[in-house]
């Protein structure tokens, strides 16, 4: 019985940590910040960098959750 209580206590102590992991991330980059540069591969295998557009175009950068979903 004592062991069971101890086990329950242990589980309870772990719960807040797992809830914390579910929290929505808070963006580190906000309006007024410099956008960190990156080089990534597009759907056709071509490398695209943010700095490719510097001094030439604005960039609308849209982070999406998963391919094959709405939005």
């Amino acid at each position: 019985m004592k062991r069971l209580l101890l086990a329950l206590l242990l589980v309870a102590s772990l719960l807040p940590a797992s809830y914390a992991a579910d929290e929505t991330p808070q963006p580190k980059i906000k309006v007024g910040d410099m956008a960190p540069d990156f080089t990534l591969t597009d759907q056709n295998g071509k490398k695209v960098s943010l700095h490719d557009f510097k001094g030439k175009k604005n960039v609308a950068l849209a982070f999406y959750i998963f391919a094959f979903t709405g939005g």
Binding site: P25, P27, N58
Partner: protein, 103 residues
């Protein structure tokens, strides 16, 4: 992302390049781009390094949060929309067109 495709001509006319980004593989992005007719780059942040650098990694879904950034020609963030507000790109379009008029 289809909504950005529908506004691509307007954004292009306002000197703006659209880039989609997610933690999907390039292979998934290729299949999805074909399916929904996206012609702008869909970038694969496989592993999520860039997503983490922007503070958008959601451990619950092991994916990015839905966020739009409008970045000016100097690399500075001038607009940002989160979650459901990020789906409709009309604010981004308006901001780009306003900047063009003010130049």
């Amino acid at each position: 992302m289809q909504a950005f495709q529908q506004n691509l001509a307007k954004l292009g006319a306002a000197d703006t390049q659209v880039l989609g980004i997610s933690m999907d593989s390039s292979f998934s992005n290729q299949a999805w781009a074909e399916k929904i007719g996206v012609t702008y780059p869909l970038l694969s942040d496989w592993g999520g390094d860039v997503t983490r650098e922007y503070g958008l990694y959601n451990p619950k879904y092991k994916a990015a949060r839905r966020v739009n950034y409008l970045i000016d020609k100097n690399g500075k963030v001038i607009e940002m929309q989160l979650d459901s507000a990020a789906i409709d790109p009309s604010k981004v379009v308006q901001a780009c067109e306003a900047r063009k008029l003010n130049r």
